[in-house]
Subunit: 286 residues, 4 copies
């Protein structure tokens, strides 16, 4: 039976680790603030004193932390994952990090004899709790095969996307499309309302047609209620748009709709909505 | 029992009229080329010799013709609908026409004592056959109430949107959002493929997330197969984008994402794809 | 000696007519508010009681009025230019009007036996006073030849551009380029100032390079002083951008930079700067 | 009398160094390929064997090399400028480099006890020969004062712009405006020609108005002659647009016209025009 480690018990990580425990895996957890481990331990998890100790005692260790700095911090250094992983064990970083961070972690783990996967996820709190995340895995194929039973507990799909970097690229493409859809949706809602159309009827018509999608169903009422409580911060979307455009630049690809969407989100950031939900881009349009 | 007339038996109109016959309505049909009436007559419909005769003998007459010129032609003139409609009968034009055409028809019908609704539809051949069109009705409210049983046979929803013009505006808003979604989808597919992502995996990931929608499911495989057989001609989408931008201009609303989407479709038109499906916008991006 | 008529003595027209008087032409003037004729009469001009009378008594009549409505009003109707022009006399409309207005006037004059030129100008008050307008003449070539001595008094150049409509198109192209230059100039000034560059040094560097032009020299200090007193109203520039884009649409030409410039000016209009100078587009950028 | 060093005798550097010699300065030169020094030596210059030797024997050393790699190579390493510069002598790098390169060079020179200025130039071969470059100097103010007599020989203006980095920023802002102007100019020329206007008349009208500028005068005939022989490579302009947008992103500034201009240049790069002149952006518009 595979021994699973889980590093990082924030909103997302805690829900994901709990699902693994409930599914019957032997799970060891670690968190920078150790008190957050209590709930998991109460459910049957073990607790490690450091990322190094956790990595040394688990077959596969997963991490879900807030940002590139935290991702580097738990991996490198004397108490880090790389110091404990040893020959053949696996490390799966599910945090959303930039390309160079992912490469640095991959290199540290590989040089220490371990196997590495990047596996950023699409989905927020609710899908994490429901085990319906979309997991974008890329890196060591044998580790992917070993991690698949755990992925299947945490997510509803977890395709293997190729070498390290392809997971991050998939996420950028998906988020770029999300940003563009939100931008044209905002313009459409603004045009409809200024034209005297009824907001509910407009939403209903959209929902009855070929463009019906869960995001419009969630964001539509938010725009209308002027409720921008954050599930995906606007500044993170703008960063992803910038990175997607940079990727297009490197690949000699003009992306005018994405470029103008990026400017729309920059305009919203400039107007002070950086920490509100992505739906707040509507405020600069209407 | 309401006597129903139906003018225009093209791909859409024939399917819609057939559904009315099957639902038990007493239906009279007319088509510019009368031979197209045969199938409907075989199913129990009567055939009229002119739009005037049809309008004079039905409580509500529906029209579904190809363009503004045809819509005007069947309504005005000595053999037109307006000449036959008389006091209190209803005329519902379901063709997609521009604002001024709609106003001209509304005026002719009203001056002849009739009641008028514009009711452009969202949806193509398949929904017409299945009776699942989205019908965007606006104009005379009493006629709307009378026509509702027929709308319910032809469509899955048919909200009443207000005065004449509001149906056309709803359609412009919806199509503008469709165009923007297709443009960012094309850019995302191009970026993904150039990045070395697998097309099927990219489609699957999109389909698993919050942006999943029927249009991406239909158009995605078309892009990948380079199959642009037309269900919605690209030039018509570009025209709708132009009209939506003109509406925004009148209402003092900047719509930069729509404006760039319009340029993308113009670029595609310039490249010679005017008569291919809207999905052909991808060819100028990739 | 050619007898010259001049209709419309606003800021522009008065300066132009005065230059013709000073150059020794026999000039007859008319203005809707006749009291504005006094200064010209004091300088030696005659005064007519109606456009019809003026046209009937001059070899070539020029008009410079505010908008399409005024241009139509002085030409059509029982007291209009067309009623008086008769066989072979010439009418030169220097007002800025849309295509269909120009065509309507051309037709009325031609049917009355007269010859017609459209001749919109590039340049505002100062060039009108200095006789350095750029005159964009199109229409009847023999009338162009006859009007040339007068054009040479009013302008520094007056090329013959072809059939009626080509003058208006030239003006749209020129103004579209002007709008685009102002938009990128505004973005550059905003970027420079936010970067901590000195505004005067930035202006000096631009003025020393290959992009140095009179407009930047005039508008630069306006932006910096937040002085948007109007020499060219922003809403008129936005209208010209819209018309230039419509022309591109008709000709199957994608114009993305112009389209985004148009959105920038629409954003400025929406923000309430419609009647300020075109330089006010900067306020929505900075 | 100040002893001047000059590193890099390409097209630009050779012309600049020659002007310094002719102006009576005592000039020592170095070039990676030493044979290129012969002409300068024939005019009275001395020749150094290495950047280190040159820096050690001159009060102020200037460099004008092709790219960041060359700029780093001549400064760092055992034979580099930093190894020879010693206490108080000055180094002025006039090459166009990115921000981090400039900072690395500044740090190496400063740590070696020297004084540093970045001084990228605006202008190409002809202004270099004529001594009419625009020099964008930033860094050590005392060195700027000492270098001014040499700057005045090489350029027509050389403002002091502040700390290291401000010279590069000024150049980005200026080039961003240049790119935007070229993009709208291309669209305007394309629209004019498709409208049936005469290219020469369009150029003449532009040249007579408030937007007249040397760049349009040079690039206009190039577009029309389809002659894109390179004076400023298109790929370098696109790189500058990308960097300007990145600067705007850092400063929370939306720059939609620049963003769309960048996409236009990317489209041209994608079409294979990367090494042609910036005017080749026209080929993707027309």
């Amino acid at each position: 039976m595979t021994r699973i480690g889980f590093l990082g018990l924030g909103i997302m990580g805690k829900a994901m680790a709990l699902n693994l425990v409930k599914a019957g895996f032997e799970v060891t957890v670690w968190n920078r603030n150790p008190s957050k481990c209590a709930d998991l331990v109460a459910q049957g998890a073990k607790q490690a004193d450091s990322p190094k100790e956790l990595a040394a005692n688990c077959d596969i260790s997963f991490a879900m932390v807030a940002d590139p700095e935290a991702a580097l911090a738990i991996c490198l250094g004397p108490d880090g994952v790389a110091a404990g992983i040893g020959e053949g064990r696996g490390y799966v970083d599910m945090s959303t990090v930039d390309d160079s961070t992912s490469q640095a972690i991959a290199q540290a783990i590989t040089e220490a004899g371990g196997r590495f996967l990047e596996a950023p996820v699409s989905g927020t709190k609710k899908p994490a709790e429901d085990g319906t995340l979309v997991i974008l895995a890329a890196g060591d194929k044998s580790l992917y095969d070993d991690a698949l039973p755990a992925f299947e507990v945490m997510g509803k799909m977890s395709p293997y996307l190729g070498e390290v970097g392809q997971g991050a690229k998939m996420k950028l493409v998906v988020n770029m499309i999300m940003g563009g859809m939100l931008s044209i949706f905002s313009e459409g809602m603004a045009l409809g309302l200024k034209s005297g159309l009824d907001a509910q009827q407009l939403s209903d018509v959209l929902d009855a047609g070929a463009m019906a999608n869960p995001m419009f169903k969630v964001k539509g009422p938010m725009l209308l209620a002027e409720d921008y409580s954050t599930s995906f911060p606007l500044k993170h979307m703008q960063k992803d748009l910038r990175l997607a455009l940079a990727l297009g630049d490197k690949l000699d690809l003009a992306l005018p709709t994405a470029a103008i969407t990026n400017e729309a989100f920059k305009q919203a950031r400039k107007a002070g909505y950086a920490d509100e939900d992505i739906a707040a881009v509507y405020k600069t349009v209407k």
